[in-house]
């Protein structure tokens, strides 16, 4: 039972982390119609910037400054790259962001090496929060979850309660109308892109210290983030939260399941046959845990392509 709770909490926190990165991505897609392949690269840049700044301004300083830097990178990407290829259509923009993500990954390998770097939690934070089931639950995990929740609340309030938020939402929903009303929509686009990037950077700065910081982290997380935004619904913030938690929890719980599909067949007395068939059926669920999100993504794309909470396509 305790093991279950620990898995559950880990899953929730991983899900919240996914949300921090996917929130920006889903907003950007809803607003500009372009799926930003480089979004997870912002996550990676956040981790690496924080790692570099850690010695200069301390851990908390790095966590605060790094997202700002990443946000500026995001603004530059929108202004100098995306805007230029807007005329060629969404597929072209998608490909451009794909190329940019490639460049970021290779540049990081150039500057920091093709291996993980030693970005760690400061000793002061590397303490247990409470004991559960005989093991200690680290404070830092709770901290990550807390930051993610705080971020969600701030964004939600910003979007729904402030004037800026209303302008942003109108630009997301009907950009031409918002422009006709006199709002500087290109500026809004740039701003939302930058803020989305900064959020991903914050997630990277915070999570990179706990999980590993390496040049492949964009790719690993990036695919997950795509799964989240597709499952949740491209453009829906609530959907992104729901899907992030779903995927985080399911993946985390699956890792602790030591049974295989063949054991499931035991319910109908066919486990011997299933074991004979072998292959996929004898794989443990824990090994398959990485594939579950993709299976879920495929399912959603076929059954409800708008996502759990997105528009009906």
């Amino acid at each position: 039972m305790d093991q279950f709770l620990v898995s559950l909490m880990n899953g929730v926190i991983y899900g919240l982390l996914l949300f921090m990165v996917s929130a920006g991505l889903t907003l950007i897609f809803g607003m500009m119609g372009v799926l930003n392949f480089a979004h997870a690269s912002f996550y990676m840049l956040g981790a690496y910037f924080a790692y570099t700044l850690q010695d200069l301004v301390g851990f908390w300083g790095a966590v605060l400054v790094s997202p700002v830097l990443v946000g500026l990178v995001g603004v530059a990407v929108e202004r100098f790259f995306l805007r230029r290829v807007h005329q060629y259509g969404h597929a072209h923009e998608l490909l451009l962001t794909f190329g940019l993500s490639f460049i970021v990954a290779e540049s990081i390998k150039l500057f920091f090496g093709n291996f993980p770097v030693d970005y760690r939690i400061p000793a002061a934070l590397d303490v247990p929060a409470f004991a559960i089931g005989g093991a200690q639950y680290p404070v830092y995990r709770l901290l990550m979850g807390g930051i993610a929740i705080a971020m969600f609340i701030v964004i939600y309030l910003l979007l729904t309660r402030t004037r800026v938020g209303i302008v942003v939402r109108s630009a997301i929903y009907k950009p031409r109308m918002a422009e006709a009303l006199g709002h500087n929509v290109p500026l809004v686009f740039m701003g939302v892109f930058g803020v989305g990037a900064a959020l991903a950077g914050l997630a990277g700065a915070v999570a990179g210290a706990f999980y590993t910081t390496n040049p492949n982290m964009a790719l690993e997380l990036g695919v997950m983030v795509f799964v989240v935004v597709v499952v949740g619904g491209l453009g829906s913030l609530g959907g992104a939260m729901l899907a992030s938690l779903l995927i985080g929890v399911v993946t985390s719980l699956a890792v602790s399941v030591d049974r295989s599909l063949a054991d499931l067949f035991a319910l109908v007395g066919a486990s011997a046959w299933a074991r004979d068939v072998g292959g996929l059926l004898t794989l443990k669920i824990s090994s398959l845990s990485a594939t579950i999100p993709f299976a879920l993504m495929l399912l959603i794309l076929l059954v409800r392509p708008g996502g759990l909470m997105g528009e009906k396509v």
Binding site: F81, Y88, A91, I103, F111, G279, L288
Partner: protein, 431 residues
Amino acid sequence: MRAVSISVFAVAAVGVATLFALPFLLSQGLLNAAVQMLIAALFASAYNLLCGQAGMLSFGHAAYFGVGAFGTVHAMNAIGGAGLLPTPLLPLVGAAFGLVFGAVAGWFATQRTGTYFAMITLAIAELVHSLAPHLKGLFGGEAGVSTMRMPAWGFDFGSTTQVYYLTLGWALLCVGLLYFFTHTPLGRLVYGLRENSHRLRFLGYNVHGLGIAVFAISAMFSGVAGALQVMSNESANYVVFDPGLSAAVILNSYIGGVKMFLGPALGAALMTFFGYAVSDLTQSWLLYQGILFVLVMMFMPAGLAGLPGTLSRLRQRFGLARAMPLVLLSMGAAILLSLGGAFAIELLQRLFSQDYRSAVRLHPGEAWPPVMLLSREWSPASMATWSVPLLLFAAGLLLAWLARRRGAALEGGQAESLPPGLAVPRTEGAA
């Protein structure tokens, strides 16, 4: 028109003849590179059927390459190592596996279009990628599955030359079939899919069925490419399902230019060749490839294969005398900026490499040691070192600015001098 097709035919004939003559011109090492180039070119051509012709952007095409590869490697090991088919016919196994898997995957993927389609292809590829390490019976674990080419039809297929001719034969056959396909009714419909699949529905076509057919055919030829690679390397490994190969074929195709039939093949051959040629000179080859891709996407959407067309259009519009300076300025700018960029990247790569950093750390307080580049020593502290890339960049930017001004002047001048009806319409970005 007749003159054009004769010259195209002549170029093609010369090209094919050169390909056949390569084993007599190249060393074994380079010949091996040529085999890889042919495989990459075939894969890119198969990819382009879906991407450039049908307008369906696939982000996980390595899956079909890999399925063809593994199917072939198992076929080669079948019957106690004798092989299911004689060696020259083995790519048919790759084709079969690619076709079937492609049809199944295509049934799922083509139910949606655009971004959703791209995401489905990514999910399918990642599904296979994450499953492969666990299915050791099929994919052989970290060491992969190895095999041996069996003699057949009087050849022993031991030498690179024989492997080269086998690969060349299949590559030419498949590219030829792909070209023929574009002239068939289904091939023409594929262009309709790209241009307006919505209207096709109202003309009575089953668009989903068409999508599956195109997807499966593209996957089939990708499977052949995978088979050829397995036959050349005599092994298959699940790293083939890494996003890297899917990324490579996308980069190669767009750098070459997806609007022309042979564009992706040329792009793939070129990129593969450079990968071989410069892998000793630089560790940052992938970075250069990424930068080239982004530059092409931003400034040359028609790709490298579109350059001759752009040049000839310039000549038509402005005449050789006035177009030449513009072309020379642009080329000069491109060369200088590339050199400056390459120099800077190579400098940075050396400065940030692990060896250099440990050398600096070993001697704290002392001046940083010089780096080796182009067989010379460059001191990172001296202005001379950094002035090289800076000057190259400055010169390149100057030429680019001059080229831009000249281009604008030409446009403006022509708008005044020619009556509207005579101006050659620009097809790039036209409504």
